[in-house]
């Protein structure tokens, strides 16, 4: 392997000084001057109801109120993969906390006070909080017009039901597979909803200036996707993509919760009716729990057949998702997991039904892991029970059935190269799987648990990244890209990639947060894909810049481009050791030739990347064909758990995890992701869930 100077090294974060000094600017930190208005949203007190009337008269009389808006002012739909959401509730509300009206006022206090005085009269409708109940054919329809909704071609909604999407996989001969089995286990697993709980709540500020240009500053993982959705939703007002600008400063945690568009559409839309004002909306901590994406609830029914010696012969996996009142993003979680509900195992005969069900709960959406943890909870628990029944060591069982490179996935594509077996080996060793455990305290019991995982996020097949790279006089670089550093260290790693190609230290590379007017296109910072996708775009931009430099040297010094290389911020030549041209002497001002004229000029690289091998064109009835995932990330994890016999209190004494992350571009940063993710996972298992009453 080639020796790398920056790639693979624990380079110090380039955003460190900003973040530890308090200088880092988040959306809520931006000042907008005297023309700033504050929004307070009037939210639904009902989970499912018709809106009979909205009386704003009392609220209007509060001093400082500028204007009050309701659904009548914005009869527009929006959505990422399916247009099923409204800027404000129209004739009915579908979850507790849904936006019904908004008060815009000169102070937050006036907005709050007035919002309390908006009187909304509801006529309650039957409330569906349980996905199994919502599947009942005789029950209330949450979206009676579902059949008319626009959606991406890989979704299969069923009109006149509450089923927004049904991902089906049929592979091999299921009945035959069960017939070969010596043992069949059937069970049901439930996983509740969870909230992301980023420490920064959602914030967005919209400003529609007198020239008709809309700028939105938002705390978001998806500036370009937001621009696209704002432009689409507000097209009836005459807005086009050129007129919409999204600026996303530092983000105080995302975990999927700030992907796509949720509350940001509100200030964006309100601003269009309040020319010249900046219109700000900041969600309260409470609203974070009622009106942003949540992790979907799951009921999984598993039936798995195995031979006596522990080979999986068949899997029937039915997953029913409580996807909430709007599924414009959440339905893709259902899709991704439906494609992958075999887990990282080689299973010849498979049936998967991943069913996205509308309920009267807040919209489900992306949450770290994109549905995989919920699915894996059932699958891995099921495998433990089966191994126990067969008397086979659960790690041995997993090792035996682990998917290998070249095995077929559930949808028929070949499994990518992976280090699953190596991960199993490493975790087995780290947790000392074979060493028996006994607590020295008789009131406590100790146990070990082991699980495998995989993830591939089923992005649109044309999700792309692009990059601009411009040199400055001293050969420092501005790398202009549109991914978001939501904490993972993306800016640093992108700088490392450009640094490696161009021999400029990462500390001399500045990466700023995006502005859709100035930074090139990026689909979204989601799907654990940004290092790979944007990283390739950055590499291509750096190569483009390098080629421009080499071509200039060839032109001026007549040295063949294939003998040139970059080292220590200078151009050097393999065939002429004496040749040494510092980059700072050519990347802006060009090179002076004998007659005093200059050749060259500012070097600006561009690069883009799109995974051209992916396709969502699978058979809707079987899922076979197509290549909906770019690749699967695999790994293994284990814990030692102590349980108090009397109180049931649990303590995790040790955790071991191995992830095949490919080449760890920055080992320290990826360790931060793995440990942070592991702890967030433990928190969801041990401490967190979301509970709802019938309202």
């Amino acid at each position: 392997m080639k020796h790398h100077k920056y790639i693979g090294h624990p380079v110090i974060r380039i955003d460190g000084r900003e973040k530890v000094s308090g200088a880092a600017v988040f959306a809520d930190d931006i000042d907008f001057g005297a023309n700033l208005l504050y929004v307070e949203v009037v939210t639904s007190s009902q989970a499912h109801a018709l809106i009979k009337s909205i009386d704003t008269s009392a609220a209007e009389s509060i001093e400082g109120v500028v204007k009050i808006f309701t659904g009548k002012d914005f009869p527009y739909k929006f959505g990422l993969y399916m247009k099923d959401r409204y800027i404000f509730a129209q004739e009915k509300v579908r979850f507790y906390g849904e936006q019904v009206a908004a008060v815009v006022a000169r102070t937050p206090q006036a907005a709050k006070q007035a919002a309390r005085l908006v009187n909304v009269e509801y006529e309650p409708l039957p409330v569906l909080t349980d996905q199994m109940q919502a599947l009942d054919e005789a029950c209330t329809l949450i979206h009676p017009d579902l059949g008319d909704y626009e959606h991406v071609p890989w979704f299969f909604p069923r009109a006149n039901t509450n089923i927004a999407h049904w991902r089906k996989i049929r592979k091999g001969d299921l009945d035959g597979g069960f017939a070969q089995a010596d043992y069949i286990l059937e069970d049901t697993y439930n996983v509740p909803r969870y909230a992301h709980c980023a420490i920064e709540t959602h914030v967005a500020i919209g400003k529609y200036d007198h020239s008709g240009r809309l700028t939105v500053w938002s705390s978001s993982q998806s500036p370009h996707t937001q621009r696209n959705l704002f432009a689409e939703a507000l097209a009836p007002l005459g807005l086009t993509h050129k007129d919409v600008r999204v600026i996303t400063p530092h983000v105080g945690g995302g975990f999927g919760g700030k992907a796509g568009v949720t509350m940001e559409i509100i200030p964006a839309a309100l601003a269009t009716k309040l020319r010249g004002y900046a219109v700000k909306l900041r969600w309260t901590r409470e609203q974070e729990f009622t009106n942003t994406y949540q992790r979907l609830g799951v009921i999984a029914k598993l039936r798995m057949g195995v031979t006596q010696d522990g080979v999986i012969t068949a899997l029937d996996h039915k997953i029913y998702w409580d996807a909430g009142a709007y599924v414009e993003y959440g339905a893709n979680v259902v899709n991704a997991v439906g494609l992958s509900a075999i887990g990282p195992y080689r299973i010849p005969n498979v049936s998967i039904d991943s069913v996205c069900v509308y309920t009267n709960l807040p919209p489900g959406g992306p949450y770290r892991g994109f549905g995989y943890s919920e699915m894996l909870f059932g699958l891995e628990s099921h495998i433990d029970c089966i191994a126990d029944h067969l008397g086979i060591d659960p790690v041995q069982f997993r090792r035996k059935n682990a998917i290998n490179e070249g095995d077929t996935t559930a949808y028929g594509a070949k499994m990518n190269p992976n280090g699953l077996i190596e991960a199993i080996d490493k975790v087995t060793a780290a947790i000392e799987w074979d060493k028996p455990l006994r607590s020295s305290d008789p009131s406590k019991v100790l146990g070990k648990g082991f699980a495998l995982f995989w993830k591939a996020p089923a992005m649109p097949p044309n999700a792309s990244s692009s990059a601009f790279l411009k040199f400055n006089e001293d050969a420092s670089i501005n790398l202009i890209i549109s991914g978001m550093d939501i904490g993972q260290g993306y800016q640093t790693v992108m700088a490392q990639i450009a640094a490696e190609v161009l021999s400029i230290p990462p500390a001399k590379i500045r990466v700023e947060t995006p502005d859709t007017d100035r930074n090139p296109y990026e689909w979204q910072t989601v799907a654990s894909h940004i290092t790979w996708s944007c990283g390739n775009a950055v590499k291509n931009a750096a190569l483009d810049a390098r080629d421009q430099i080499f071509s200039l040297i060839t032109r001026v010094f007549n040295l063949p481009a294939d003998t040139l290389y970059l080292e220590d911020e200078a151009v050097k030549c393999e065939s002429d050791e004496r040749f040494h041209l510092p980059l700072r002497d050519c990347v802006i001002n060009g090179i002076m030739t004998g007659d005093g004229t200059f050749k060259g000029g500012p070097i600006i690289g561009r690069g883009m990347f799109m995974p051209e091998f992916t396709s969502t064109k699978g058979n809707p009835e079987t899922g076979q064909g197509g290549h909906p995932n770019v690749h699967y990330t695999v790994g293994a994890g284990a814990i030692i758990l102590e349980i108090d016999r009397e109180t049931g209190k649990m303590r995790v004494l040790k955790a071991a995890e191995a992830v095949d992350a490919g080449c760890a571009l920055n080992p320290d940063l990826i360790k931060g992701q793995i440990t942070g993710g592991l702890l967030q996972g433990l928190a969801t298992v041990l401490y967190e869930d979301m509970r709802f009453d019938e309202k």
Partner: protein, 154 residues
């Protein structure tokens, strides 16, 4: 409205405040000091921590009107000219990810080290129990503080 005068990051500042305005809002919206962040507005997350007469408080729970004559330090004041050893350690140990909780965490840890230069891990955990971080899992934060302690011990 009442005129309140206090020392903010070693400078005397005055402003007219309403009785229900919090110190956090005044610092951020009226005095332009943005390092204290609003995460919960209920005193749960610690992102708004500032030092009030040397003691860390959640500025979202303090009314500005109570601060007459007090000494307030925010992260801006703690590292006026250069980063402190603790801040440098936060960079070295990747003790932040998104960075939103970092100002509150560093303010609280600064108070701890001022009162107890060599805290044990348990004392560090206790001191930071009111600061939430959703990204790091806390270990890198404890590591950075321990490293500073260790450095000064040497």
């Amino acid at each position: 409205m009442k005129q309140v005068t206090f020392t903010l990051n070693d400078e005397i500042r005055s402003c007219l405040v309403k009785p229900n305005e919090t110190l956090l809002d005044i610092l951020r919206d009226r005095l332009g000091v943005k390092s204290p962040k609003c995460g919960c507005d209920h005193g749960d997350c610690g992102s708004c921590a500032v030092l009030l007469n040397g003691k860390s408080v959640r500025s979202c729970l303090i009314f500005a009107i109570e601060c007459e004559g007090m000494e307030i330090h925010t992260l801006e004041g703690i590292s006026k000219d250069k980063l402190t050893t603790l801040q440098e350690a936060f960079i070295a140990f990747n003790s932040f990810q998104c960075g939103y909780c970092a100002p509150g965490v560093i303010v609280t840890a600064t108070e701890l080290l001022a009162n107890n230069p060599h805290p044990t891990l348990e004392e560090i955990k206790e001191a930071l129990s009111g600061n939430l971080c959703r990204c790091t899992g806390y270990t890198p934060i404890f590591d950075a503080i321990m490293a500073v302690t260790w450095k000064e011990n040497k």
